[in-house]
């Protein structure tokens, strides 16, 4: 009995111990960013100091401050028109010219030949996508002005036009550094029998997204905040006499028709009337004071906009409600617009419509706004009428309708059309949320004439929340400063038990904490008043405000809570980001009488149950393989069999491009299958493989090729032209691909695929951190090493993996991983690491980690984000995509450039990077090699690659950049001018490591050699030389397997071979 109790006790104790252990371990496993909690000191310091730097870097003051400074200045005395013909352009913008100096052919290439009148042509100027252009404005009296620009978009990439504005050679305020001119995109629908818009359907009845076309039109842009914080327009203080207005290109070319400086009082035509004034003004029209009859009802399906602001605004299929119209249990039908695709300030979607009666109307919308709990989102409702004659009916918008259409809000309340939060679908008349004396909601009224064509625009705006969100952002800046002051005194991890006497030493910081606590509390109150409720979203602010007031009031709480404060700073940043994305999903818009019934908001129980059961059952029958197939022959057995191993989105995009492009042109049906990458090997073995496979890595290509599983493409007669352009010679301007990429797919003089994707490392750096340190991005490795002590004394580091470092040093010094690469028979027979260059590179590389203390392992993205590693070297597309989506708070604070250069003995600099390639390959046993070759050429052509890349960005967002291998495609993808220059510069300096048989052995043994140096402090030269014979032996063994020429120890290839 006694022993039994003892055993029980032991067992229980053991169990309890394990219980605790498991909880701890499971808990830690689920924590997403363990490094944030690990060693806080360094990170905190880096974080803190980068905040100061950011402010110094962004020397430009915010607009609010700018406005404070000049608000008491008199407005300008008269409007001024700027003469555009006297522009000055810098060297990069040398193709800036007046439209009159351009030929008709050039104009039609830009897609603007039809919209430019003779008069406009004589005074308009074309601004290229590079460099900066300045204009001179002669201002009669100093004062405050608005700047309005008539602009015309031209054909280019999918981006909006973006310019950085300088007034007299300096950025007047922060917000002026990014002026965004939106484009106009038109959806091309299929037109049904009754003239209604229809989606094209695939063979299974799924909707296919219609083509989107850029429409070049004149528009007027009055300089304003593209973040949407500041309602209304910027005022600029211009001095008397000459003022220099400079526009520096960030993205896209554009045509300026005129620049007008409006005196800051004289803007009546820019301001909208109130709703009361509007209702008075429309009273003169027929039935102008009466509500239209109940029967007059126009239903607009929100998923079919006629025009959109940018090509990322697109329709989607939503199954969250059974009565979304249209909906189907089986097919994927588009029935809503919105959600993530349509939530950034400035984006809009526009619909054309007519009404059947004269009179006043309300607009009912069926929508779901469930993103921000307790908050509302805003849209600005703008109108444009086809009728331009006020005598014939009501006129909305400005412009003559032929060359320019500028929609405007009918009254100022329409800027702040408000949509409240609810988890469920809602249906309501639109309004600004205000209430009349009876407590009823005031709905917007619009007057429309019968049978006139109108266009209604719904533009995302921050509306009445803009001011609060902006103040939270300013508050964040103040709290940052206070945090920094505390950290400076205490160090990153303050001692809780020490008396720091904060109130004596840094009274401003403690005061700021108190002040911001109250400030945030006030903002919370305002939010609650505006939104009517206090949801979880706003609760975040309350928590932060409480913490701040605790720290502000109780001096002893400061040191304890510094860590918390740091966490909350991050939370606040995220909060601001979230608040700025105003997403909602719209199903339909009904223009109807206020007396008629609103559309139904929610499905009843039976509808929901029926729909859910139907969907579940149908999910067994949906043919996922043939999503988007519009041609019957693509399903036939004779179709060219193409496989790809990517996501379903990617596959759908390819499907539509192939159907509308390749099959349309060539009449060759293509069947596209989505597979997992590992399927290829067994399928080739079973002889049931595809004809063409998209995107196989170069290692696999060589592995398959040497075993006869891939057919070489270099036997095709037009192969040289296909890869090197019309002249068929590498390293010329018309190369289709980088010769490096081709080289990596070539074995024994035969090329085994066309490059589809190409990625290579580049140097990413944090602008703010470098500016603060007073250094520029290192151009050479010597600069880099000189920079290291500076960085390290600030607890910062450089992030580069040793494999990359080794490759850079090797190839930049003129070395190579292989000996005798110019002799195809013997290339790859021996490793080149025992040459002088090889040994030097290995030694230099190991020294970075042993002598200079670089980290061997690190999480690059995380450390770059916190600023701890202000310089990292990594694959450009992956890092770009990661940072864009993961580190939004450092947007605009980082750039990338080419890899640092090695200065060779002869003084030349070499900054080659190392490419990796994914190829399109033709499998051995392809049924129709000619068709497959034609398809491969089409697939990797510039236009097709660019279309694909741009559609990916449109569908998934800016974080879906595509690493196209086609050099022409890179020019057409949506990079900014600066980014593209950097990428193209690096592409001109690329090396590739060819994979010869047995090359897997190299990474393995260099890794061993490197780790020997790091772990056991072995001599670098000894340790690498130690492994060279083993590597060479394996290479020889592997080459013998394929009957390739081999070299013994100390042998060299025979002369003249």
């Amino acid at each position: 009995m006694k022993t039994s109790k003892l055993t029980r006790l032991i067992a229980f104790f053991l169990a309890a111990l394990c219980c605790v252990g498991t909880i701890v371990i499971t808990g830690s496993a689920s924590s997403p960013a363990p490094l944030l909690s690990a060693a806080p000191e360094e990170e905190e310091e880096a974080n803190a100091s980068s905040l100061v730097r950011m402010m110094e870097y962004l020397q430009a003051i915010p607009y609010s401050e700018y406005f404070e400074t000049y608000r008491n200045q008199a407005p300008g005395s008269a409007d001024v028109q700027v003469d555009l013909s006297t522009f000055t352009a810098d060297a990069k913008a040398s193709d800036t010219k007046m439209l009159s100096a351009m030929t008709d052919a050039e104009l039609s290439e830009l897609g603007i030949a039809d919209v430019v009148s003779a008069e406009q042509r004589s005074k308009s100027v074309y601004l290229s996508a590079n460099g900066s252009v300045s204009f001179t404005a002669n201002v009669p009296t100093a004062g405050l002005y608005y700047i309005a620009i008539d602009y015309l978009t031209v054909n280019g990439t999918v981006n909006n036009v973006e310019r950085k504005f300088y007034l007299n050679d300096s950025v007047p305020f922060k917000e002026a550094s990014s002026l965004t001119f939106s484009k106009n995109w038109e959806y091309r629908y299929e037109i049904g029998e009754e003239g209604e818009k229809k989606f094209t359907r695939d063979l299974n009845g799924n909707d296919i997204q219609p083509e989107l076309k850029q429409i070049n039109r004149w528009g007027t842009y009055v300089c304003r905040d593209s973040d949407g914080y500041i309602n209304g327009f910027f005022v600029f203080y211009l001095r008397e006499g000459e003022n220099k207005l400079t526009f520096s290109a960030e993205r896209e070319p554009v045509v300026f028709g005129s620049i007008d400086l409006y005196a800051a009082t004289n803007v009546s035509h820019l301001l909208a009337p109130t709703m009361a004034e509007y209702l008075e003004s429309v009273a003169q029209y027929p039935n102008g004071t009466e509500m239209a009859s109940k029967d007059a009802k126009t239903v607009i399906e929100a998923e079919k906009p006629d025009f959109v602001s940018d090509n990322s605004v697109f329709m989607t299929s939503d199954r969250s409600s059974a009565i979304n119209s249209p909906s189907s249990a089986k097919a994927q039908l588009f029935n809503v617009i919105g959600a993530e695709s349509y939530n950034t300030v400035g984006q809009w979607a526009a619909y054309e419509f007519t009404v059947s009666e004269d009179g006043l109307y309300k607009i009912a919308m069926r929508f779901q706004q469930s993103a921000l709990q307790g908050m509302f989102v805003c849209r600005a409702v703008k109108l444009w009428s086809e009728n331009r004659d006020p005598a014939a009916g009501v006129v909305y918008g400005e412009g003559d309708g032929v060359n320019s259409r500028i929609p405007t809000v009918p009254y100022e309340e329409a800027y702040k059309t408000r949509f409240d939060f609810s988890k469920k679908w809602q249906s309501d008349f639109i309004g600004d949320g205000s209430q009349d004396e009876n407590g009823d909601d005031v709905d917007f009224l619009f007057y429309f004439n019968k049978d006139q064509k109108y266009t209604i625009y719904f533009e995302v705006s921050l509306g009445s929340l803009a001011d609060q969100i902006r103040r939270v952002e300013e508050s964040l800046r103040q709290i940052n400063a206070a945090y920094l002051a505390i950290i400076k005194m205490t160090g990153a991890t303050p001692d809780e038990y020490k008396t720091y006497k904060f109130k004596e030493n840094i009274p401003e910081a403690i005061y700021a904490l108190n002040y911001e606590a109250i400030n945030l509390a006030n903002i919370v109150e305002e939010f609650e008043e505006l939104c009517g409720t206090n949801g979880s979203h706003i609760a975040t602010l309350v928590t932060i405000s409480n913490l701040l007031s605790t720290m502000g009031i109780d001096e002893y709480a400061v040191a304890k809570n510094v860590e918390n404060l740091k966490t909350y700073l991050g939370t606040l940043g995220t909060w601001i980001n979230d608040s700025k994305t105003s997403s909602m999903t719209v199903d339909k818009i009904v223009i109807q009488s206020g007396d008629a019934k609103k559309p139904k908001a929610k499905a009843n129980v039976f509808q929901s149950i029926g729909f859910e059961i139907g969907s579940f059952v149908m999910s067994f029958f949906i043919d996922y393989d043939n999503m988007g197939v519009t041609r019957k022959e693509s399903k036939s057995k004779d179709a060219l069999n193409v496989w790809l191993a990517e996501g379903r989105d990617q596959s759908k995009i390819w499907r539509s491009i192939i159907d509308s492009g390749f099959t349309e042109e060539t009449e060759i049906p293509v069947s596209l299958k989505l597979v997992t990458a590992s399927t290829l090997l067994p399928s080739v073995l079973a002889k049931s493989g595809p004809d063409v496979y998209l995107g196989r890595g170069s290692t696999d290509v060589v592995n398959y090729a040497i075993r006869g599983a891939i057919d070489p493409i270099s036997d095709n007669p037009d192969y040289k032209q296909a890869i090197y352009g019309a002249d068929g010679i590498p390293d010329t301007a018309d190369d289709v691909y980088s010769p490096t990429a081709i080289n990596m797919l070539t074995l024994l003089n035969r090329t085994y695929g066309l490059p589809l994707t190409m990625n290579f490392p580049m140097l990413f750096y944090r602008l703010d951190v470098l500016v603060d340190l007073g250094v520029s991005a290192p151009a050479t490795w010597d600069d880099m090493l000189a920079l290291l002590p500076v960085l390290q004394s600030n607890n910062l580091a450089i992030g580069i993996t040793y494999t990359l470092a080794l490759d850079f040093f090797l190839y930049q010094n003129g070395g190579s991983m292989w000996k005798y690469e110019d002799n195809p028979e013997y290339a790859g027979a021996q490793i080149g690491l025992d040459t002088n260059e090889g040994l030097y590179a290995f030694q230099y590389c190991t020294r970075l980690y042993t002598d200079y203390g670089l980290q061997v392992k690190f999480d690059a993205a995380n450390r770059f984000r916190t600023g701890e590693m202000p310089l990292i070297v990594s694959d450009y597309v992956s890092v770009y995509n990661t940072l864009t989506v993961f580190a939004t708070e450092i947007k605009g604070l980082w750039e990338f450039t080419h890899i640092p250069a090695t200065v060779r003995i002869d003084g030349t600099q070499n900054y080659n990077s190392i490419a990796t390639v994914g190829a399109t390959i033709m499998l051995h046993g392809c049924k129709n090699p000619a068709a497959a070759w034609q398809y491969m050429k089409w697939q990797t052509s510039a236009e097709v690659e660019a279309t694909y890349g741009n559609r990916m960005v449109a569908l998934i967002g800016p974080s879906a950049k595509y690493a196209a291998a086609n050099l022409g495609a890179i020019r057409l993808l949506s990079w900014t001018t600066k980014e593209r220059d950097a990428i193209e510069e690096q592409i001109r300096h690329l090396s590739g490591i060819v994979n010869y048989p047995g090359s897997y052995i190299i990474a393995r043994y260099t890794n061993f050699a490197f780790l020997d140096v790091i772990n056991k402090s072995a001599d670098p030269i000894d340790s690498i030389l130690n492994y060279v014979p083993t590597i060479n032996a394996e290479l020889t063994r592997k080459r013998e397997e394929f009957n390739m020429k081999t070299l013994g120890v100390g042998e060299t290839p025979p002369e003249g071979d």
């Binding site: 022993t3 039994s4 055993t7 029980r8 032991i10 067992a11 229980f12 053991l14 169990a15 394990c18 219980c19 498991t22 371990i25 499971t26 830690s28 496993a29 363990p34 490094l35 690990a38 060693a39 090997l681 080739v684 073995l685 592995n703 398959y704 075993r707 006869g708 599983a709 203390g853 980290q855 061997v856 392992k857 690190f858 999480d859 047995g998 897997y1000 393995r1004 890794n1007 061993f1008 780790l1011 020997d1012 790091i1014 772990n1015 592997k1038 397997e1041």
Partner: protein, 363 residues
């Protein structure tokens, strides 16, 4: 409306009837077949002679060869064979056949993509005489197996024994806790966080903070630590199915045996364990042992996840890794098959040894 509904109901009933009729006829068919089978059987049994002594009919007592006897027994139990058939078929196609296939392939130079050529025993010759790394791998595998196999086995047994003493409800919870690491699949990656080579890896961060080291240690890239760490992780994940089966085994033991043993003069719990508990759960012990062995010999995925592939200087390179290396990276399937055959032989042998050892339990 109601008319339509009636129609629908009629239709429904009609369809049901049809289905019923179909099922009925199907059943009749099957029953007929089975009857047919038995009939034939009876016919065979009708092969009788009249016993001259008793005048009664009795079956011919023919002399049967062993094969005939087996065949007869199989025929007698054909329903059982029918039931086990589907599984046997799958088991044969996906388990037995590949074993034989790999034995055949081990004699060729198969490379996954081209027709193999017969190479005799050259793969084995190279493997045993000319492959240093295989020797390292074999050494590592044996170390792994020798440490993790028995230790985890004994650990499972002891913990199961302890837990068995707990009241049923607590026992269920505690069992889950111990079993959790092995059902949570990839959870062992938590060790990666713990021993990350980054200066923010937990172990490194703590050691750096304490001033014990000045530079982060590359835990999984340093020969000194790799093997030890992997063994620890292996033990941590190994409390799996064997442990569960031990608990089940402990619970099925007849309580009366203990009472009888107490009467017979068992002196302490150890004797009880050795003479009663363990022998009574011999099948579970065998099951657990087989599992432990396959687990410890087939240990590889965890090492690859933690240390990369291959581990530094092959410090934790097991036979499984060696196989992967030749199969996945070098496309030398023939050679990889030879490795697999050797691994198979080792496992079979050790299984037999264990079986022998277990039969000594309780003696």
């Amino acid at each position: 409306m109601s008319q339509g509904k009636e129609n629908f109901a009629d239709k429904f009933v009609r369809v049901l009837k049809k289905i019923g009729a179909a099922i009925k006829s199907g059943c009749l068919f099957v029953i007929g077949k089975i009857k047919g089978l038995f009939k034939r059987k009876k016919k065979e049994e009708q092969n009788v002679i009249i016993d001259p002594a008793t005048g009664k009919a009795r079956p011919i007592a023919r002399e049967m060869t062993r094969r005939q006897y087996i065949w007869k027994e199989m025929k007698k139990n054909k329903v059982a064979y029918l039931m086990v058939g589907p599984f046997l078929l799958l088991f044969f196609i996906f388990t037995v056949l590949p074993v034989f296939l790999s034995m055949i392939l081990s004699l060729t130079d198969f490379n996954m993509l081209q027709m193999p050529h017969f190479k005799g025993l050259s793969n084995f010759q190279r493997l045993i005489l000319d492959d240093e790394i295989f020797l390292i791998a074999a050494k590592n595998t044996l170390i792994f197996a020798a440490i993790t196999g028995p230790v985890s086995y004994i650990m499972s047994l002891l913990i199961a024994w302890f837990i068995n003493e707990l009241p049923p409800k607590i026992r269920a919870v505690v069992t889950l806790i111990f079993y959790a690491p092995s059902i949570s699949g990839q959870l062992y990656t938590v060790w990666q966080t713990l021993f990350n080579s980054d200066s923010y890896g937990w172990a490194n961060a703590v050691l750096l903070k304490l001033g014990a080291i000045s530079k982060p240690i590359l835990w999984f890239e340093n020969e000194k630590y790799v093997m030890g760490l992997c063994i620890v992780v292996a033990l941590w994940t190994s409390l799996g199915t064997a442990f569960l089966s031990f608990i089940a085994g402990l619970q099925t033991i007849d309580r009366s045996l203990y009472e009888a043993a107490a009467v017979d003069g068992i002196k302490n719990r150890w004797q009880e364990l050795w003479f009663i508990t363990l022998p009574s759960m011999r099948p579970q012990l065998m099951f657990g042992a087989v599992l432990s062995i396959t687990q410890s010999f087939g240990f590889g995925a965890v090492v690859t996840t933690l240390c990369g592939f291959p581990s530094v200087n092959y410090a934790a390179h097991t036979i499984m890794h060696h196989l992967d290396d030749y199969w996945g990276q070098r496309y030398e399937v023939g050679y990889a098959s030879a490795i697999a055959v050797i691994l198979f032989a080792i496992m079979i042998t050790s299984n037999m040894v264990i079986k022998k050892a277990l039969s000594k339990v309780g003696q």
